[in-house]
Subunit: 590 residues, 2 copies
Amino acid sequence: MSWRAPVEDILFTLTAIAPGPGGEPAMERDDLVAILEEAAKFCEDRIDPLDRVSDTVGASWADGRVATPPGFADAYADWAAAGWNAVSQPEAFGGSGLPTAVGTATMEMLTSACMALSTLPVLSQGAADALEAHASEEIKAKYLPNLVAGTWTGTMNLTEPQAGSDLALLRTKAVPAGDGTYRITGSKIFITFGEHDLAENILHLVLARLPDAPAGVKGISLFLVPKVLVNDDGSLSERNDVVCASIEHKLGIHGSPTAVLVFGEKGGALGELIGLPNRGLEYMFTMMNHARLNVGLQGLAIAERAHQQAVAYARERVQGKPVGWSEAKVPPIVAHPDVARMLVSMKSRIEAMRGLLYAVAASGDRAHAHPDEAARKAAQFEVDLLVPVAKGWSTETGVDIASLGVQIHGGMGYIEETGAAQHLRDARITTIYEGTTAIQSNALVGRAVLRDGGRSVDAWLEAQGAVAAALSARPALAEIGAALSSALAATRAATAWLVEAASEDMRLPFAASVPYLMAFGTLAGGLQLGRAALAADAKITAGEDGDGWYAGRIAIAHAYCGQTLPRVEAEWATIRNSSAAVLAVDAGQL
Amino acid sequence: MSWRAPVEDILFTLTAIAPGPGGEPAMERDDLVAILEEAAKFCEDRIDPLDRVSDTVGASWADGRVATPPGFADAYADWAAAGWNAVSQPEAFGGSGLPTAVGTATMEMLTSACMALSTLPVLSQGAADALEAHASEEIKAKYLPNLVAGTWTGTMNLTEPQAGSDLALLRTKAVPAGDGTYRITGSKIFITFGEHDLAENILHLVLARLPDAPAGVKGISLFLVPKVLVNDDGSLSERNDVVCASIEHKLGIHGSPTAVLVFGEKGGALGELIGLPNRGLEYMFTMMNHARLNVGLQGLAIAERAHQQAVAYARERVQGKPVGWSEAKVPPIVAHPDVARMLVSMKSRIEAMRGLLYAVAASGDRAHAHPDEAARKAAQFEVDLLVPVAKGWSTETGVDIASLGVQIHGGMGYIEETGAAQHLRDARITTIYEGTTAIQSNALVGRAVLRDGGRSVDAWLEAQGAVAAALSARPALAEIGAALSSALAATRAATAWLVEAASEDMRLPFAASVPYLMAFGTLAGGLQLGRAALAADAKITAGEDGDGWYAGRIAIAHAYCGQTLPRVEAEWATIRNSSAAVLAVDAGQL
């Protein structure tokens, strides 16, 4: 099957849901269309053909070197040369300086086309964001232009075997060399594109402890450790003391090498301190929001690809006369009510995820660039609130949709050559890396809700009532408005419950946190579909029916309210009825 | 990790939930314990060590021959020699003649120990059931003893490339040879253990069309086509005209060869007609209930294995101080509320599935052997009603639980060597083969509900109110009773809706059928947990607290009511709110 970039859906989302930082369109519409179509063409022609070979050949390791799958090198070089690596990077370092929402669109396309390859620019962007925010001007000038251009790539070195979600346990050491640099020793695991053959240098951002550092997370500093040392004139010098000891044999994203890196076997890898000592974790968190948004985007992108493949199969495969079918010629299985049910569920959740993820990206743009300080602050609140929701919910949903994609193929879905199973295998990492769904839900409950007794979150939810009210005011959309109102009420009740429960037993809200995140995501995605329905309705009212395309947006919002939104009420019931019951089960009897 | 057969859980389920055909214990308790412990020992010692090699080496094909993974041959031979292949097979042909519920227990153990290998006896049992029910005495005498003993194995040859769920499209031909035998020509795909090196002969049960057969499913006959022809004295003769052209490269169960079989390349494979011409589909359906129950059991068995592995990891892995933890020594992650939430959700659904599957097996025993005809009839109704539910719901639940098993392992879960991902890959076939979840839901809605305007199903649901009432009468169990009452009411309302909707548009109930099946399964599993809670409560009242083990059963039932049972209400909301909305989405806009 051939994946096609959903340019029309993305354009509609960007214009209806994710405007520019001041509320105006992010860009001139013609420019936006041109960018989206060019990115679509590149991803369809050059990246999409790599997705199967990425899976079947994968990355391989020998003697410390990693070979990426055939075709990755040329495609990545051309991708970077065309500037796609730097759509939303600052112009000062060679980026295009476009809003993050637009960069989100091009990243979605790259990710759908080949998720394994897309993990490289995700990490490079994260590294660039961290350097831009926290490195000295000297370091920025020395490293950022090549990183932004994509001739060099970046990594995030957090995890160690004993330190995954809990970075307080990390042991990698950094010792001052006396000349302003540091010698790094230690081992890191799960380093995405920690070694590869696609660029001439790799900039490892490494969390490590200085000799006099406090224990725990307050004693972690951030270092830049290049694979190849860089001379002051920017030319490459000798190899640094870091080697790739192996790569992992994973369930999916086989083309994305997951490296074990060993620093300092020959006395210490040379590193430069980024920012101040012992602030490493804080610096990592500044780029975490963007990285998490990009992983949420992977949930969407894999779901989109899986859905397109399932639709194509369902439109071709003939198998049984559908119930209620009166014509003699048996139609393909898309006419079976249950196949339609699955495809509509996939499609409506995809549009809900797209709305949510792009809206969060647009909030990020607003938080940086809105002229009004209060608006910037409100936008930043929204980013902090919704990034864990968008990451957690979109990745869980992406896995579910990829699994439905297998199901629609029947027995063929279980055969690897069909490709449907690959999407499930690829998607399965997304609920784990960049913080598991539980970690996201802890951020949502601990940082957003409990921090101020639920007040800001409740106020935000109350404000969303305006979307429901606007829908309820239009007869054709009133059912959508009513469904969203109910879901809003349930989510507010759940929010109040978390606060109340915390005062009783602090474990209770954290036994409820994932159901709460799933309810919140289901609602937040539904609100975006509500906004999309309002925009579509306005188009229809203005006489632009787009051959039924806009009516289709409204039908999809209706279906979501019926199929998916009831989950909000169910999660709320689960929260209030089971959190104490779960803690009452003796762990010895599991 | 080492899997351990959950003998205690199985024994409790068999005694509390799945009694013998007359309501009495299925067997003397000591005999039952002895059988379960012996099967547990065999599966733990001999089968469990094969599970990883089954995945990593898999089955391989060369020149028409299939090699199974190392260790399969010895283990299978010893399994069959010990009589485990024939626990519930009739004594007349060498089986032990024990109730199916007991055979279900030994099959659960085999399946947890190595699902790939377990698919062989599942198919052999299905073939034996079909021959026993429909073949002539001569054929039975010639083939059944070896099939029951396991020295020969059996297959079901239904699927062809164009005929999967829709067998009306099948093209394989059978032509009378003039001597009472038939010549079979055609190709079959997806034939589990269609070729292998574990037995001296394979008995293929093949659906094919006679020359004068009516079109569609009413023109399908059933033939026995041995891989090696059998002389009248039972000795083996020459190879029949059937070859294995290839095996599939699948997402999981790599040790279970999935064959493409080509019949009649040299003029026609020799086959014997089973029963009457054109009754093949009906004959296949007689063994379908048992095969579907065994696939539902795969959902349970993989979930049990995935859960055990997750519990072991969660009890060992230390990562972060849990919220509300006051001691200095940081405990393993099992103490984190969200990890507990996942493990309890897995455990409670596992016990619910076990209760449901064993109860259905016991109903099957009752349908055959209860002294009272009305009781036999009621039991058969229950089998026909609950087999699609048990198959569909247990397999969907099994996939979800295997996925949670990956999640609990964090990043390690994505690494193949951990083994958690294998369970997800293995489980993923179960919602597809032996009829997809949609096919099960069509059977539930079309055959059980709509056949008589919902009357029998509603009466069955009403009768289950007795379980809820018994629970409500005990203060300690009243919450469980109330939750089940609500879920029963919602399911009855959904049943009435299906009937009403069918009169309006026959597509509506079939757009709602999978949500209905999932609601029904969630309820039916909950009812079994309710029965388990009553039995545990009786033990406690009688002064046997089992060191808190029985109290644990009640805690698990409580947790299920809070965590999982709200899904019934949510599915009912989805049914009434979305079925029409789904059909309203233009298929061109998916």
